[in-house]
């Protein structure tokens, strides 16, 4: 019998690799090993319904425990893989236990960037990645009055919305001039700033945190570099992540801004793949090597690597997409807007329904949609199929994207 596939990491990417391998009729052993104690679960709801107390663990499980037995997936939770022995084709766990592999998939994700400043270790400073951390935030939010969110990115803003929905006094402190600036253009940052301010959140941009002050070991206020203080009994930090590259690095595999992989999601070793948040891959849509932190990327790369391991070698070419829910506003993003030189807008910020189409030269490269779901979905279809849309067509509301997208459907049949 073959040693089969070992998957390191039980997040969305690891889980989906195992599930897709079985869906591909892969018959060899599958071992899914992760540091987290829980069976695989979804992360997106943690900063939304779960933090609000509307969803419990069972509702965020990716599959019930029985799924793994039914599909002959050897799920090992609460175990960290510490080393890869490439010559022997094996991994070693912290416990000393070893597993051989024929193919290895590294799906170890990323970890939160931590604050490095005075007071950073006080009690009452929360980060969000795992379900345990989400439970801490959920529980602390119940008794908190004043919440300060450090970092105006997706996670920070989603949690700010949750806290405000629960009636807390909320301030968001962002170091850059505008919200979510790494991912969206100024128009969308401003739209969301107005949403948050309109709900009573104080948004402070261009503000660097210089220290956190506390008493009796608990955080009490966030000190900004201009000397002003924001009182808080709960501080939530969302200042980005760092890819977990150490396992691959330790095995001598090439690493850039993530574990370096090619279009087949293969590392420098033909038997080792890396996918999801931890991997840096060549993206056709970005025209560059990038690393993405999203469910779409994790699930699609998992599906792709599973196909390759099951014997259908597949290059990765899925269109990136993403979403965020803040209050009742849903932002849907398709493609990678970075590097655009022109934009066309449908709808308007005033109407609360807006899509921005990004062009690089003549080519549509991305669409961001606020409460215009059809633009998003049709955009995904068009861009995935590399079907051209002109700026004139994008600007003309009467031009039916659905009609154009259906040409794709027909072409595929």
């Amino acid at each position: 019998m073959s040693a089969g596939t070992v998957i390191v990491g039980t997040g969305q990417a690891g889980f989906q690799t195992a599930a897709s391998l079985r869906a591909e009729s892969y018959a060899e052993p599958i071992t899914l090993i992760g540091e987290e104690r829980q069976i695989p679960y979804q992360r997106p709801p943690l900063s939304k319904g779960f933090a609000l107390g509307q969803q419990d663990f069972e509702s965020v499980e990716l599959r019930p425990e029985k799924f793994y037995q039914d599909h002959r997936i050897n799920l090992i939770t609460g175990s960290r893989v510490t080393a890869i022995d490439r010559a022997a084709r094996g991994v070693k766990l912290e416990s000393g236990k070893k597993f051989s592999y024929e193919k290895l998939v590294i799906a170890v994700g990323s970890r939160n960037r931590k604050l490095a400043l005075k007071g950073a270790n006080l009690d009452g400073i929360a980060y969000l990645r795992s379900v345990q951390e989400a439970a801490v935030i959920r529980d602390r939010l119940k008794n908190a009055n004043a919440v300060v969110v450090i970092g105006g990115g997706f996670i920070g803003l989603e949690l700010a919305a949750v806290a405000r929905t629960m009636g807390k006094s909320v301030r968001v402190v962002e170091a850059l001039p505008r919200l979510m600036s790494r991912a969206v253009p100024p128009m969308i940052s401003e739209f969301f700033r107005q949403v948050h301010v309109g709900k009573g959140i104080q948004v402070i941009c261009n503000a660097t945190v210089s220290a956190i002050e506390g008493s009796d070991g608990s955080a009490r206020s966030v000190v900004l570099s201009d000397g002003s203080r924001c009182g808080a009994d709960l501080i939530i930090v969302g200042v980005g992540v760092v890819p977990n590259v150490e396992l691959a690095q330790g095995a001598g595999l090439p690493v850039g801004n993530g574990i370096a992989i090619d279009e087949y999601l293969q590392t420098g070793d033909e038997n080792i793949f890396a996918i999801g948040d931890c991997a840096e891959f060549p993206c056709t849509f970005a025209g560059a090597r990038i690393r993405l932190e999203s469910v779409q990327n994790a699930a699609d790369q998992a599906q792709c690597v599973a196909a390759t391991i099951a014997g259908r070698r597949s290059a990765y070419k899925a269109l990136p997409w993403f979403w965020t829910d803040q209050f009742e506003v849903k932002l849907q993003m398709a493609g990678i807007s970075h590097g655009h030189d022109r934009t066309v807008t449908r709808g308007s910020a005033e109407s609360g329904k807006l899509s921005i189409f990004y062009f690089k030269g003549e080519r549509l490269i991305a669409i961001d949609s606020i409460n215009r779901p059809l633009d998003h979905m049709m955009g995904r279809k068009l861009m995935s199929a590399h079907l051209p849309l002109t700026r004139e067509q994008a600007a003309d509301e009467s031009f039916d994207l659905k009609h154009l997208a259906h040409a794709v459907g027909a072409a595929h049949h």
């Binding site: 997106p44 709801p45 965020v60 019930p64 979403w323 779901p373 979905m377 995904r380 659905k402 459907g409």
Partner: protein, 107 residues
Amino acid sequence: MPRVTYISAKGDVREIDVAVGTTVMSAALKNGIDGIVAECGGVCMCSTCHVFVDEKFYDRLPPANDTEEAVLEIAAVERQATSRLSCQIKVTEELDGLIVRLPEKQR
């Protein structure tokens, strides 16, 4: 508990008792029905929980909103007249006996 019948593309029939308030999608996952993938977890961002609702029941469902309508347009198997996303169908007493058919693929 209301009963929901899932019929796979191959014709396999599974009857499941579903608690009121549970979605047709999450009941499928809990009971090991592989024809439902539910990649986005039920937030109308993917189409991988697409089902064809039996005609007798289709009109009893609250209508799909714009977001669900948009997602149905990208379904891996082209939508039909009674297509819905199973994450948006909450089981009620009135839906007892509901029959849904699964498409041959979800991705």
